[in-house]
Symmetry: D2
């Protein structure tokens, strides 16, 4: 990044419905930007905006595999396999004053699915419409079978962020894996920097699946789904690449694991956090294993998608003066603040 403000200009990406993609891999870039560029982009919700009312059952108004549209891909100049793409989320704001959630036949954590195949009929398919009040910072839950209403805190995030996969694969946008994708972790909020392995020239970043908020595990299979206006900055770390996406915010180093069974997702995330900690603190592997064991957090992200996602978190307080990626997160955060202030 070269400007005094720490970012290299801003570009906008507001795809038409026809430009939306439904996979990672298999697409030419919609946009190519230099490292350090701010990208302002819009995303559609996971239902393509087709679920707006109680009667809009997803299985009727959506058509597989046209679910979970993503905006992108954005190519980043100079990104080569073996590099790391850094993506800092400066702002994630609901683009609508409503969001929706739903059950979906044979999808979710507490239902038989196509993978956890059983002889049960699907649970009832039901839609909930949430009122989003961005000024108040709330989204309003309304029960469908009682009069209960209550406000939940708005906590906007993107469920789906990733790059083109390795090995020439093209994966549905609903799959989380080593390339990122549909990780569905509430940690992917504004103020977070995400680090992705670069698998193809340009990295090919795509973003979608905005959530006004989401519980850990995304138990019923969907969050408070809504369209978003999002501001992010991209940057590059040359010559190093993580095994799976890493995240960083002001308080935590965060690693992610995407696999089934859930203990393998846990193991992947913890294994990477042990390695990252060892590297930053100059510890041998077992000393880092010990430190992570006592200091780490381990919330579920999603337990409903085609892979499950666990995240592992280490408080940066234990890092002392060590900084991940030479302070990339802090630089991008500060650049984001200047950009937003100047906007």
């Amino acid at each position: 990044m070269t400007s005094d403000d720490g970012f290299r200009g801003a570009v906008s990406l507001r795809p038409t419905p026809e430009q939306l993609a439904y996979s990672f891999g298999g697409h030419e870039p919609l946009l190519t930007v230099e490292p350090g560029t701010v990208v302002e982009l819009s995303t559609e919700d996971c239902f393509g905006g087709a679920v707006r009312a109680h009667e809009d059952l997803p299985s009727r108004v959506c058509t597989f595999p046209y679910l979970n549209p993503v905006t992108g891909p954005v190519a980043v100049t100079g990104a080569e396999p073996g590099d790391t793409l850094a993506v800092h989320f400066a702002d994630i704001s609901p683009a609508r004053d409503w969001g929706v959630s739903s059950t979906f036949p044979h999808f979710g954590a507490l239902t038989a699915t196509h993978a956890t195949a059983m002889l049960h009929e699907p649970l009832e398919e039901r839609v909930w419409v949430y009122e989003i009040d961005s000024a108040a910072g709330t989204c309003r839950f309304r029960a469908r079978r009682s009069g209960l209403e209550l406000d939940l805190p708005l906590d906007p995030m993107h469920g789906t962020v990733g790059v083109a996969p390795a090995a020439g694969e093209t994966l549905m946008s609903i799959t989380p894996a080593a390339h990122g994708g549909n990780m569905d972790t509430p940690e992917m909020r504004a103020g977070t920097t995400a680090y992705f392995p670069v698998n193809v020239p340009g990295a090919l970043l795509s973003v979608g699946d905005g959530h006004a908020r989401q519980g850990e595990g995304e138990v019923c299979g969907t969050a408070v789904e809504t369209a978003m206006n999002t501001v992010l900055i991209v940057d590059l770390i040359k010559g190093r690449t993580p095994a799976a996406p890493r995240l960083e915010n002001d308080g935590f180093l965060i690693t992610t694991g995407h696999a089934r069974p859930l203990e393998d997702a846990f193991r992947i995330s913890q294994h990477d956090l042990v390695g990252w900690t060892a590297s930053l603190l100059g510890l041998d592997q077992l000393d880092a294993y010990q430190l992570v064991s006592q200091a780490g957090l381990a919330p579920a992200a999603n337990v409903c998608d085609t892979n499950y996602t666990m995240v592992a978190k280490l408080p940066k307080a234990v890092l002392g003066s060590a900084k991940a990626y030479d302070g990339m997160h802090e630089r991008l955060r500060d650049a984001a603040a200047r950009y937003l202030a100047a906007r």
Copy 2:
């Protein structure tokens, strides 16, 4: 409870080494108390105090199955199968100024184990000794292969709390299951009320496995293990029983699931939280599923024991004026405060 202070006297239980138990079930009570009684008890660490220095490798100084000793059982007068035993932790204080942690051959989340059987040799068995400074509220990590030292916040808890199992079973104290046992969740700290199913007359509560602190997942297999002095109050809820232990503190309703694979532990905990939420808020099951999906938290507890443990947490803010178990937690919390103040 009948006294003005909300508790019915206090008794002490400081077992000799010979009185320590290594199972839930299969033991006569060491003590019988009325509901509402404060119990002050001491617990030994999971190694029976035998690991005190780097050279005290657990596999040498401990003898299977004499691991993870528990204090108890304590019988509660009037407890009958189908009831709920409430246990409020008023205080959990390290009884020593040191704690230990270790790897253990073929035990932990990032190693081959007897269940996840592989052809690898065990990882190195290594002991870490922590300095506990209760006044400062810290425990000091010292790396073994570098000079790194750092203080972690003290956050005392019990890994093992439970009652006699159902169906006449006797289970090793290292197993977490529907009766509680070695759940190893950091949520079991002072200020928490735990609710257990009563499976046998008297319930037969036992407590052990104090941790000066523990990361979520207990990745390496052990926490900062230390002896504890603990103050708790027991009480009874007649005629209702949870499927597995529930916890409550001032901020959260918490359910627990104990199973393998980890997604089943997750499912059990979420299933119970959905049911509990539905019952407290008068919601139908799907409305409660939706609310938990958006408002819940889902951290790992242990991913190393004979069953894995996940917890599910709902912020009590969403409950409005509804109170779990008619305010049992608040009553026990207040009684505990009065007892500690008067002590």
Copy 3:
């Protein structure tokens, strides 16, 4: 064994209903025998004989935990922890001309269960009554919702065979684990020798859960359940003990793994087969791993019980002249033949 016939007399064990046990561990022996003794015993079916007709729904006529009764325990003189108990099944014959099978609420592989907890209502509970024709060697399936009838080959076996568990545990008879128990493998038929770890003096063998036949996986949760008259011979191998039950017949070495998830049950069984093969053929671990990888079979046993069971099988053709346990299986098989011929 000392007689010319290779067995040391025969005793009979036909428990009254009150003598039936529902656990491994926690019971005094009904009978004590010398190694080499033939035991003729009777077993009740897993429903205690209470399900006899379509209207006898198990959830109504059976009372938890009084399910899956076992006959025993039988103590074997001289058995000490660290030894191996050998049990050869000489004959397993249905004691009735009918058997039953059923679905059971929240039990089975293709239904939500208490562990794989979901929001579905249970599948329909339905009973099937089979006609057993021992002379013809068939059991007759009759569909409940159509007129289809067909004969399946009789293949009698015991689902539940085991010894008292280690570590002083008492486990429900429906649980399979390292002590054996409810393994539900069709390999446990007449002509098979099973080897169990001895965990307590006398070993304390119990047997139950006869199946007129069973598919691999016991998918719906029950087999063709029936009472059995069974002839077995017990013997001892001093100073060696397997990690989990092993089986042997004229064609195969068979190891068993009992765990969740199913891949851990697979891993345990394969790990033991690799070790057994290495030991018998004088191979290093990796050479044995390779041989088992190319020559082994790996059928599911049960995917419905509290632990799942996989078995691993190696054709004895690859063993050349090597014999497991110095030919114990062959000796017991021959003794059994002489006993049955003389009976």
Copy 4:
């Protein structure tokens, strides 16, 4: 098929090394054939032929992702999404008089892997070279650390057979899933008809990964890998599509499940076998569940690949006169016999 012999001519497909593919999806057809056509094709081994001797360690001589090459794709005229592609294997013959197997770093069932992430170093990487004697029907195992040699029966099969995936995905050839792919079941031998869902026009069949033989589970991660000359016949079933590949031979209906954890692979395969059985015998779902539970077999296929594979088998004896897909298997089998006889 229209000829008197039941097949519509024969074509040959012998790709150059440059024509080999490493994915399902993402490739134009090498060949387009009519339904009923015999295809004679050659396949390279999973190492691309680069592992020929003990010193050819796969991690050195192979380059990810150029592993597990497949021959194809072959387009079948008239195949449309929603149809079923039938592929009958008439002959699978080793093209060499040697095969190889190996361990591979962090790959296999009894080792830490990238998914089951652990802190262990990889197991030793070791290559075994087998002598294949097609006339004798054997392949010769030679231990590497002892003098043991023994002949195993030749049982040639293809580990990898599949079609282009649904949803526009491109998947590495080492992944088994609903499109088939690297299922690694020993059931894929000559005499078997495999049925695949058609996801794209032409279906786009590819075949590779020949095994001179393979144990169930493919425990060490590789079988006796060799190049093959294979004869197959393709045909179409219009307007019906299975959820995942089904197989049929003269003795059994066979379904497949591809997932993690292994119990989900089991569930998928059993669920499909229940549905198939219900449909062929006119049973309701629970009656079919019962029949499969008592009559079915359930061997592991692979427990090492990116998804695990279980198969479920029902003896065709229980079908009476019912025939799957109107006798497609029998017709293709007979056509294959005529073709081979006339060749």
